[in-house]
Each structure stands twice: as C-alpha cells, then as structure tokens.
Symmetry: C2
Subunit: 358 residues, 2 copies
C-alpha cells in the first residue's frame, strides 16, 4: 500500500511536469504568403528573418513557412488570403488594396509625405499604429510595419522634364496615388507587368517608369536605356506590412505572440538598413559604369503642380470617407510638426557637411 | 513482473519529459547596469524594453533586472563591471571609455561622420559590427548597437558665433572628440556635472554647452537662458551600446540567446523612433513658448576649421593605433559611398518638399 502510494504520487507529479512541458513546447506551424517572388531582396528578407528568429527563439517549436508569389500565384490577394485563413500571415504593402479600401494606401506612403524617421515616429509615438489596427480590424487582421524602403526614386526618364509641357502625353508606368497625380498633369499613365518593363522602355512603348531605388533598380537594367534618374517625391518612405489573422494570433501562447511581435520589429528595422546599403552599393556601381546618368530634381513649376494635384487627390478621398480624413489629418499634422525637427537636425547637418566635403 | 515493468517504463518516459521540460524552462536571472539614471528617457527605455521582451518571450523564465546609475553609483564603469562579471550586461555609450581605448569612441559617432541610416548600413551591412566585436572581444565582451539618437544639436550658445574669433576663449562644456576639436580652435573646454549645467550657464561660468537635442534638452531648461541653438556637426548619429559578458552569454540556452539578440535589435530601433518623436514634440513646444530662439548653422569658415581640426584629431589617433586606423578608414570609405545615396534620396526629397510647403 505504501509503495503503491509512492508510485501513484510520482506518476501524478510526472503528469503535472509533462503537461507544463507540453504547454511550453507547443508545436505551431504557420504559413506566410508574400506579394513578392522569393528572389526579391531585400523585401523577402524581412519575412524570412521573422521566420528564422521565431524558430530560434522557440527551439524550433513555432515554425513559419514563407511562400513566394511564384508558388501561390496571387501576389495581390494577400489581404484576402490572410483574412480567409488560407495563410495565417502575409507580407505585402497596404497600397495594393487601395481599390478595396483607399485609406490603406496611406499607411504605406503618400506623395510629399513623411520620411522614414517621421513615419516611424508617427506610427509608434504619434497614434499611427492605433489607426492602422482600427482599420485592419474590420478585416479580422492585425497589421504591423514590415520594413521601410526610405525615399524611392522618382523614376527613369528617357527625356529631361524641363516644364509641365513635357509631362503632357508622356507615357509612364507609375502606379497608385502618384499615378493619379500624374494623370491629372496630362501623363498617359499605364501599368505594365514587371517582366515587360525593360522591353517597353527600350522600345518606346513607355517614355518613363518608376520602380524603387538603385538597390532594386539595378537588376532591372533601366540605367542602360534611360539617362535621367529623377529624385523622389511620390514615395518618401514606403512601408511594407505584415498582416496577421487575428483569430490565429489570439490563439497563440503569449510567449509566441511576444516572439512574433519582437521579431517583426527587429526584422523590419533591419530591412530598412539593408535596403539603404543595397542602394548605396548599387548607385556607386551604376555611377562608375554609366557616368553619363544624370540625377535630376524636378523644375519648381512641375513640383508645385504635382503638390497641388496631390492635395486634390488626397482631399478627394478624404471627402468620401471620414476615416480617410482622420488618418490624413493625423499624418498632415504630425508631419508639419516633425518636419521642423527634420530640417534643423538631419537637413542642416547634411548641408553643413556638404560645405566641408573633400 | 509485467506490471512492475510498465510502471518502470512509464517512470522512465516521465523522466525524459521532465528533463526536456526543465531544459526548456531554465530559470536565468541577470542584472544589467546602465550609465544613466533610471529616469533618463528615452535612453533607459531601450534596456527596459529588452528586459520586458525577453521575459515575455520566455514565459518569465529569463529575467533581467535593470539597474540605474542612482543605485550602482558607477555610471562610467559599465565596461569594467560587465567585463568583471558583476553585471551580466550593461547599457552605455562606447565613447565613455575613450581614455581606455580611443577606437571605441568612433563606434558611437564622430564629428562630420555618418548619419543614422549610413551608420546602421555600415554596422549591419558594411562590416562595422564585425569590427566592433573584434575590438570588444579583447575585453571578453559582446557589443551590440543599443539605440541611436540621430543628429544631436550643436548646443546652446548665449552669443552668436560670427567668426572663428568668437570661439577663442569661449567657455564651453563639450566632451569627447568634439571637445578636442574645439580646444584646437581656442575654445576653453570644460566638463561640468549635468546637475550643475543650468546654473553654470546662467551665471556665465560657461558661455555655451551641448547636450543632446530638444527631446532631452527641454527638461534641462537651457532654452530659457541661451537664445542660439546651433545645428549639429559633432554627433550626427550617436549610437548607444549593449555590452554583454561573453562567458555568460555563451552559457545561455540557444533560444535565450536568440531572444536577447532579437529584443536588442527591436528595442534599439524603437529608441531611435522615440527619441525622434520626443524631439519633434519638444521643439514644437519650445518654439511656441520661446519664439525668439534662433536655430543657427555655423559660418562657413568656422565649419571649415572644425572639419580640418576633426581630421587632425582623428588622424592623430589613427597614427597611434593600427586598429583605430582600420575602423576610421572603413567608416570614411563607407560614408563617401553612402553619402552620395543620402543626397540623392533623403536630401533631394527634403529640398523638393521644402519648395512646395504651404
């Protein structure tokens, strides 16, 4: 009797420990769909690093399989696929479903909008992230910043833009809000699949196009056929997003939730650094091989017209949707305040430094 | 016999599971010493968030107690205390032990050096982090970037600096390499404890001082007694560091190592966003309450002399230590390449935007 009692006690203790062990080591397998093909660095590095970090932090118990567009064939359906639960999470850019809900576009970026520092400050310390969650919760999703490209270049042009007249009839690939702005200025805005862009520009089907920046543009080869590279105005700090199915996230053990959120923050910051480094390297190489390429800024009257058209487009959306107006007002107010600080810190520093360069 | 065998088997299985459970739930308690008092936001928020993230990700099993300088009373001894194992980790800024090893200073920042984007690109994708580990391994430490302030302001001045003559005999609190640079230009460089700075400036014991930027300066009240706020030149992207005792880190279970590294990356990026937001807010409030404060840039001949003196000071250190030269050469080469990209992206964007501001 005594011995049986001891065995029973030992077994009971074992069951308790085993239960605790199973809770701590819960196996979770998720799938994440990306808008990008698996080769599109540095974008794909953010989701890939999130998956690795989460696995490392959970001793391989929380595994996220990352799937590129070459496999799921639905690059612009990430929102629907995560909402529907086919994938527990996704990596994309909010402006791809502007047609479904216009306000999501300006969580990515907007013409003449905030730069990277300003946007992060707005998101994390200026109420931006709360607005983003509020909107995405209607889809049953959480959304988190997923890597920022910083300033994207204004694009490759075969001819110099000397005046507003040069925009009229210009055939250009430029999507999103910037495309709407350029259309107002008489540009013949088209959309062309990425794989056909080089040939279209080479054959004159289009006169200009925008892509991202030197780091990602160099592989496309545009610098070989278009000598004018215009400074950015339309995507000053394009933020990608991780979308997560709310029900799936809420079911995770709290330590896995924490691991996923922390990994997202770390990998997103890292993607910004990597994209900057890639652009610095690529530009150095383009400049050496193609010394005749000219980096241009737009003439003042063109900038003024682009700004006016931008305000008209944004105010138009705001008039149709009070929530768009709420986000737009929040961004405009934050930027007005933050830009003062950007000027006296970053801009004045760069200007002072330029004067003493050797 | 059969029954006893079953019990034995069950017990053996239980022991295996229990062992696995204990491995997964290893209790670790660490202490982290900061250079800062516990109230110095946003600096203290990076270590505080690291501790919280790590605890959340390990179900409270890996606990890091964060201790401010008001408790350990040794703000500038972090390197020695972590090296000696009194604390498993610390949070500080490398330039505080310039006297012990000059090269550590330029892992923090240097006059006319890289901005935040450039420095992160150098650290993570330009070989910087490897150089930092190489140097810190001689102390038995790992070092990781621990939050970047971005551009620090050049300081508060009671009188306008119109020429190099105005620097001669000027009494200023400005530590580090920038202090050496100003001393070369005839500035009477002093160091004064933070608690006495306001009174010293008010009574004319000093004519000028530098601190950080609006977000942290506002609590010090300098704007009430010095009307000239000069743009930054000397600390364009001050990086704090986490130092970790190598032996202690190597003893951690791999999942805890991954959790700590990921938390450090996430919390450090976050501190940069928070510092930016605090400065944007503080400057808006200073400008409203003290509209007469003038934001100034230094005159061209002063900038040229500061740059020349900076090169002399840095080259002087490089001549004494081949490793200093290796790091300096790496930073200079990276910056030369990266600044081209900074100009055509960030700087041109800010300039184009300024033209159309309303």
């Amino acid at each position: 009797m005594k011995r049986t009692g001891t065995v029973a006690l030992a077994l009971a203790a074992c069951i308790l420990v085993a239960t605790a062990a199973m809770a701590a080591e819960k196996k979770v397998r998720w799938n994440m769909a990306m808008t990008w093909n698996s080769t599109l660095t540095p974008f794909v590095n953010a989701p890939t690093k999130v998956a690795k970090m989460v696995s490392d932090m959970t001793d391989g118990n929380f595994v996220i399989k990352v799937e590129g567009a070459e496999k799921h064939k639905a690059p612009l359906e990430i929102l629907d696929m995560v909402k529907g639960g086919q994938y527990q999470m996704g990596h994309s850019a909010s402006y791809y479903w502007k047609g479904k809900d216009a306000v999501t576009a300006i969580f990515t970026t907007m013409p003449f909008g905030m730069n990277n520092d300003e946007q992060n400050a707005w998101l994390y310390y200026g109420g931006g992230l709360e607005l983003m969650q509020e909107r995405y919760s209607q889809f049953g999703l959480y959304a988190f910043p997923g890597g920022n490209t910083g300033v994207q270049m204004g694009g490759w042009f075969r001819k110099e833009i000397k005046s507003l007249d040069d925009l009229k009839g210009l055939k250009m690939r430029i999507p999103g809000i910037a495309g709407e702005v350029f259309a107002k200025l008489g540009v013949n805005v088209t959309n062309i699949a990425p794989g056909e862009l080089y040939t279209s520009l080479d054959r004159g089907t289009i006169d200009a196009l925008e892509w991202v920046g030197p780091g990602m543009d160099i592989k496309m080869g545009f610098h070989k056929i278009a000598p004018y590279y215009y400074a950015g105005w339309h995507e000053p700090a394009t933020d990608l997003q991780f979308l997560i199915n709310k029900k799936e996230f809420d079911k995770l053990p709290p330590s896995y939730q924490a691991a996923l959120r922390t990994a997202i923050q770390a990998a997103s910051a890292d993607m910004h650094y990597e994209n900057f480094a890639m652009s610095a390297d690529a530009w150095a190489s383009i400049k050496t091989e193609y010394p005749n390429i000219k980096v241009m800024t737009f003439p003042d009257p063109v900038l003024a017209a682009m700004k006016q058209a931008t305000d008209e487009v944004l105010d138009g959306y705001a008039a149709q949707d009070p929530f768009f107006k709420k986000v737009l007002d929040s961004q405009r107010a934050y930027m007005k305040k933050a830009r003062e600080w950007t000027k006296m810190s970053e801009q004045y520093y760069l200007e002072q430094s330029a004067k003493v360069e050797q």
